[in-house]
Amino acid sequence: MIDDKVLIGNIQRFCVHDGDGIRTTVFLKGCDIRCPWCANPENQKTCIQKFIDDGVEKQYGKMMSQEEIIDIILRDKIYYENGGGVTYSGGEPLLNLNIIENVLKELKSEGISQWIETSLFAPTDYVLFAMNYMDNFIIDLKNICREQCKKYLSGDSDLYLKNFDIVVSKYKNAVVRIPVVEPYTYNSENIYKIIQLLKRYKDIRIQLFKVHNLGMSKYKNLNMEYSCFEEISDNDLVLLYNQLKAINDRVEIISL
């Protein structure tokens, strides 16, 4: 039923950090991993979360029909020239992408570029489902050391690596995005493994970014504990950049 309402975190137009061109980003709620630096904690749970901000009742998440979602995305169609389009983000958008399948189909038939920004921590079937519709992937590359991945992110690195290979084998132009934060992603063991992994895929684009202490107010609104961390120095970031540059020409430092 196209009229059934689905849960959406938010829809944001004119996004310039979520892929090529001008894009509309659809945030889907729900995520199975817990990154300590998560800047979007409001999209971790698959439910509407109400909170009071300065005496005014507000909420994270809203129910929308797929028609409404399509309508909003298409309102910026004229701005999608030069490679723009829609990006699904989250939370982990792979987990609930199927609830907006009509959106995916409709946009595909409209010729709108569809990207997904994913952590890839999702069952492989979900990844394959997404690949039916997506024109490109932005893949977060966080931690691929088995123990660390489990400890820091509550994630399964084997599943991640399997999904990574499937996606990158098909999407030669995929963007791999590395959040650089010590010690969760930036430690010698993990960096070594990341470099070894990326050596195998020459064509992909690599983006590094420094993780900032963001989203503090969201943690407060959600009554969640926020753990501050030390931001990595510019020198360390450049050092990592140089290491990656040696194996891939398409690496860049971005600021989010």
């Binding site: 001008i22 005496g55 020239e81 723009g84 971005i254």
Partner: protein, 680 residues
């Protein structure tokens, strides 16, 4: 108290004689209003004049014909020149040329007349084609005499620069401009003349078009000339400023569609954009007429200038504006030759008297009045309120038009010479001699009003949480003890700027009331009225407007132009603006005003170019950008000495941030913080 005044004058760079001139201007206006008590006032006048002469001030005020007043003015004027200057540009600020009536200004002049002709041929044209020729001929002869006077004075200097100026000024008498330098000197000379004779906000028109026939081989030299020209235009910045420092109307119009549908731009289009960016001064400003056909590299050049933070150029969308001008009654070729008044209001250069900024109508004030005066509120439906509002709009506009139409303009043969229709009809510009004589009003507070109506409908009629009399009470008491409600209103999920059918419909409905209220009414010259959604008075008028039901408290600023302070996506705001109905008479300047942080634009340059291109295609009317961060604005407010060169875009002009009144600084800071999502 006195020390405070002196300190204020020092800070604002106001000179003592400027204060005296303001006092004198006021006195002389009072004098003119009391025809039958002249005896007493004449004594007072002589006293004031004598007092002024102590400070070296000269007052040119005669009961002579206008052309003879010019003669006396030019006699009284000094000649001042700095040998390092390549151009001669001098306004004698110590002379007050008293215009008894309101001087015409706030528009550009078609300088091609003096660039493509000599004064001799202009006189010949007047003699053969004109009526009432004596006044024009005499005016030109006085100007020629004045040129001789300048040349005589300059001959005392031995520099090459002075020699070149003399040769060029003399040549103006008997031949058209021969090269770029010659043309620029002529524009400067006449621009100074208009300001000297009391016209204010006299813009520079389509200079790239005016200069089109001049080739140059040495690009460095051309660049240097254009930069020097721009620096000259910035001279007398304080003198030319009107409501606040920077409000000078020194605007250069660039680019634009040709009648054959092709896009016009030339090397000067690029050079002016570059020069204005490089000299980084508030004056001159630029406006780029853009179209779907504007070359990408020109848009890039424009964006580089905008990115530098000087606020220029403002982008004006020919694809939208020209059809509207045609529809309104500006003939085909004329519409294609539009420039704008001092800020953004389209005007046909060299053909229209159009005074486009004669009244600031406040949607918000009418809203406050409507709600306050509602009676039998329990029986009123939402449409009844809208109907009541509409009647108040009509009433306010009728009064506005009646006030506006009382304006009598000071005759200006000097400016009329630049209007072919004034020559052929023999009627001065001030008396309706131009081809078009339309009047424009500006509006403010539409966003506040749309949001107020949206909230009112939701809370009173949909959620039924409050009655109309509750709202009357709340607004009357300026949200006293209702702060939570106020915050709720500020955070409403539906608001002006969203491109939904509902909000567009309401916005167009309110705008339509204003357009309808002015439709079919004629001014004393049989000109029509027009209206636009951008006004300079959103802050000043806000300080006397009661609380509105969008959460805005009384006496605080109204919303700026077509803008949204709720962190709305730029694409949504542009899409909203593109769907507003400017048809019929709604084209008197409609500027989307957005704030962007320097980081965002510099790291996404190409995407901003795409935004502009798509926005043009989608059909925004006009657009300006303030590229600045809240961090910079806050720091500059606390440490002005470190930010002497910081330029910001104020309503339709650019100004030094440190020169702005505190209320403007605060408003910009608040807008920047909201834009960055740092406050709600």
């Amino acid at each position: 108290m006195l020390s405070k005044i002196i300190l204020f004058m020092y800070k604002k760079r106001i000179k003592f004689y400027q204060v005296l001139l303001v006092i004198y201007k006021r006195a002389i206006r009072i004098y003119d209003r009391h025809e039958n008590k002249r005896g007493l006032f004449s004594v007072v006048k002589c006293g004031i004049k004598g007092f002024f002469s102590i400070f070296g001030l000269k007052i040119v005020y005669y009961r002579l014909d206008k052309e003879n007043q010019y003669g006396d003015l030019f006699d009284a004027m000094t000649v001042s020149y700095d040998e390092n200057d390549r151009f001669y540009y001098w306004i004698d600020e110590k002379i007050y040329f008293n215009n008894r009536r309101r001087p015409i200004g706030n528009m550009p002049v078609d300088y091609s007349l003096i660039v493509d002709n000599s004064m001799k041929t202009i006189k010949e044209n007047i003699k053969t084609r004109g009526k009432n020729t004596e006044v024009y001929i005499k005016t030109i002869e006085y100007v020629e005499k004045y040129i001789d006077k300048i040349c005589n004075e300059l001959s005392k200097y031995n520099s090459e620069n002075a020699k070149k100026i003399i040769s060029n000024l003399k040549s103006m008498k008997d031949r058209p401009a021969s090269d770029l330098y010659d043309a620029l000197q002529r524009v400067l000379f006449w621009n100074a003349m208009f300001h000297q004779t009391g016209s204010v906000l006299v813009g520079l028109g389509r200079l790239d078009k005016v200069l089109n026939r001049f080739n140059f081989e040495d690009e460095t030299e051309a660049k240097s000339l254009i930069s020097e020209f721009c620096r000259m235009i910035h001279k007398n910045f304080e003198y030319k400023s009107q409501t606040m420092l920077g409000d000078t109307g020194q605007l250069i119009i660039l680019g634009g569609l040709n009648p054959d549908g092709s896009y016009f731009c030339n090397k000067y289009t690029y050079l002016f954009i570059d020069a204005v960016k490089e000299i980084h001064l508030p004056d001159p400003k630029t406006l780029l007429r853009v179209s779907n056909k504007t070359p990408s590299e020109l848009l890039q050049k424009a964006m580089e200038s905008i990115m530098s933070g000087n606020g220029s150029p403002l982008l004006s969308n020919d694809d939208v504006i020209i059809p509207l001008l045609n529809e309104y009654g500006y003939k085909d070729d004329d519409a294609y030759n539009y420039a704008v008044s001092a800020c953004w209001e389209p005007v046909i250069v060299g053909k229209s008297l159009d005074q486009n900024n004669l009244y600031n109508y406040s949607f918000a004030e009418t809203f406050v009045k409507t709600i306050k005066e509602l009676k039998n509120t329990e029986n009123l439906g939402f449409n009844d309120i809208i109907k009541e509002y509409n009647e108040n709009v009509d009433c306010a506009l009728r009064k506005a038009m009646s006030d506006i139409d009382k304006t009598i303009w000071e005759e200006t043969p000097l400016m009329s010479i630049f209007f072919e229709d004034c020559i052929t009809s023999g009627v001065d510009l001030a008396n309706g001699g131009a081809k078009y004589n339309n009047y424009g009003i500006l509006t403010e507070g539409l966003a506040n009003t749309v949001n107020s109506f949206l909230n009112l409908e939701r809370i009173v009629y949909k959620e039924k949480r409050m009655s109309l009399s509750d709202i009357q009470h709340i607004l009357k008491n300026n949200y006293k003890n209702n702060d939570t409600l106020r915050k709720e209103l500020l955070n409403s999920s539906e608001y002006f700027g969203q491109d939904t059918e509902k909000i567009l419909e309401l916005t167009n409905q309110l705008f339509g009331m204003c357009k309808d209220g002015l439709k079919d009414k004629l001014n004393r010259y049989n000109g029509k009225y027009k209206v636009g959604l951008s006004s300079p008075s959103y802050l000043i008028d806000g300080t006397r407007t009661g609380a509105t039901f969008d959460g805005r408290m009384k006496n605080t600023p109204l919303a700026t132009h077509i803008s949204c302070d709720k962190n709305l996506a730029y694409t949504e705001l542009l899409s909203f603006a593109a769907q507003l109905n400017y048809c019929e008479n709604g084209f008197n300047g409609n500027v989307v005003d957005i704030m962007v942080t320097p980081n965002l634009i510099s790291s996404n340059f190409e995407k901003f170019i795409s935004l502009i291109k798509a926005g043009i295609k989608q059909g925004f009317f006009q657009m300006q950008m303030n590229v600045i961060s809240s961090e910079t604005l806050i720091d500059a407010k606390s440490n002005p000495d470190n930010y002497r060169n910081l330029i910001v875009r104020v309503w339709g002009f650019s100004a030094f941030y440190v020169d702005l009144p505190t209320s403007y600084k605060d408003m910009l800071i608040e807008r920047a913080l909201k834009n960055e999502g740092k406050i709600a």
